[in-house]
């Protein structure tokens, strides 16, 4: 079975590395003339995927905006994931789940299995420890899927925790990078990706030994720029997936304008 990392490699070579975030929040829906409802989310998300699904390699639906509409919103999310796959693109479902034991297994089953909400990859949050995420890593490996573990985020509120020093002497953020690196070395394949915020010039983590993919949210309205990525990510630059949401959705409900926005952010080199 082809790994997620290989699928990503192949598809981004063809389509570029831009990841289009799907964030149907109230203000965006209003700007598209849509209701702040499950139906509005569905129209927004499926329009975006229909417009860009053959052009971009990766979509990142933000689960929170679908969960906000209850089970109907979650059902919409399932249909959006099907659309993404049908267009030949990959999905990274942004859920930031993190738990232990059988609960972590249940999250893995929900999002990395074969059910209604199955994505190609998910984001994970490591407050309970990197190793607690193993059930998700194992199911991802079995199913040719991927995970992106939060390492360094761009919001200032995260600094105190992510820069705290572990007993081994590194920062918490670096300890996640190192655990991901070790996990990939042991697996012999870059199964584990990382989430590293793209809005800082100095990332605050050393990615030079990390061989996996890096999801970098925050392009556009959050202050990061595609041009700045090469400087900040250094040797890891060619495995960076910059993610933009509002920057693209701001084009409105117009296929040509959406495609043009996404083309403007495409990243091949």
């Amino acid at each position: 079975m082809e790994t997620f990392a290989d699928r990503l490699q192949g598809l981004t070579a063809l389509r570029g590395r831009l990841c289009v975030g799907i964030d149907p929040h109230a203000a965006t829906l209003a700007s598209w003339g849509l209701a702040d409802s499950a139906a509005g989310c569905e129209r927004f998300a499926r329009t975006l995927v229909a417009a860009l699904g053959e052009q971009v390699a990766v979509f990142k639906p933000q689960s929170a905006f679908f969960e906000a509409h209850g089970s109907a919103g979650v059902a919409v999310l399932g249909r959006v994931l099907v659309d993404i796959a049908a267009q030949g693109a990959l999905s990274i479902l942004d859920v930031k789940r993190g738990d232990i034991g059988s609960t972590m297994q249940a999250y893995a089953r929900a999002y990395l299995g074969a059910g209604e909400l199955a994505a190609d990859a998910v984001t994970l949050s490591p407050y309970l420890g990197f190793a607690a995420l193993n059930p998700a890593l194992e199911l991802a490996a079995q199913n040719g899927k991927g995970v992106f573990v939060l390492a360094r985020t761009s919001n200032p509120e995260g600094d105190a925790l992510q820069q705290a020093r572990t007993a081994a002497g590194s920062s918490v953020a670096q300890s996640i990078v190192d655990a991901a690196t070790a996990s990939n070395q042991q697996a012999g394949t870059p199964l584990v990706g990382l989430v590293v915020g793209a809005t800082r010039a100095d990332l605050g983590v050393d990615l030079s030994r990390f061989d996996g993919w890096i999801l970098a949210p925050g392009i556009g309205f959050q202050g990061g720029s595609v041009a700045g990525l090469q400087t900040s990510f250094g040797t890891a630059y060619q495995r960076v997936l910059p993610s933009a949401s509002r920057e693209i959705a701001a084009a409105g409900d117009d296929v040509a304008r959406l495609r043009s926005r996404a083309s403007g952010l495409a990243l091949y080199n």
Copy 2:
């Protein structure tokens, strides 16, 4: 409007402080003769709530086990939350969400608003920083609801991160305790609760200044005991909600046995 902390105080004075976890995982469903499906989850969860809903103060549904069954599972979760409220009990929905900005607002809206998945309180995960959780704290305060932020968990994989030292000199876990303490002082009410694992004799955090509620998972099958809580939690003991799931579900689909199990774990003093 009565605060969540006050509601919890009033109800636990009458019913005791045991929190019954609702964890419909495959093995438990099988032991009840139920299918590992949304329908099986529904039968399990609603039977548990019907049996214990007038006896215990708090239920803690674990969202992961419902999410594993897709939107149908999430719809079941909504009905279980309605059942809990209808029985006069309180719900702490274990979702461990944590994000930033408008995404955190969307999670708050999903679980602390008035929609299908509205609970009385939720668990939150602070990898992106305690302050990033503010949108949830704000909505909880507005709506008379509560939050329980992960501080110190009982799984060994969490040690490296939770014991890392912040620039201010405390552990990450203690920094969450201190941020929660400061937040409650500023609010003038114990809005913020904490999650602190109950399976350690030495908790590894100083709770002596913290005035909020403490959710303590891990009673029973995970190794903690109700008897050990007074020793480990010290002066905070009377605000500890010990949570048990498998320990109670192991009684099987029999109302009298379920009630007897829950009575055996009741905690009034």
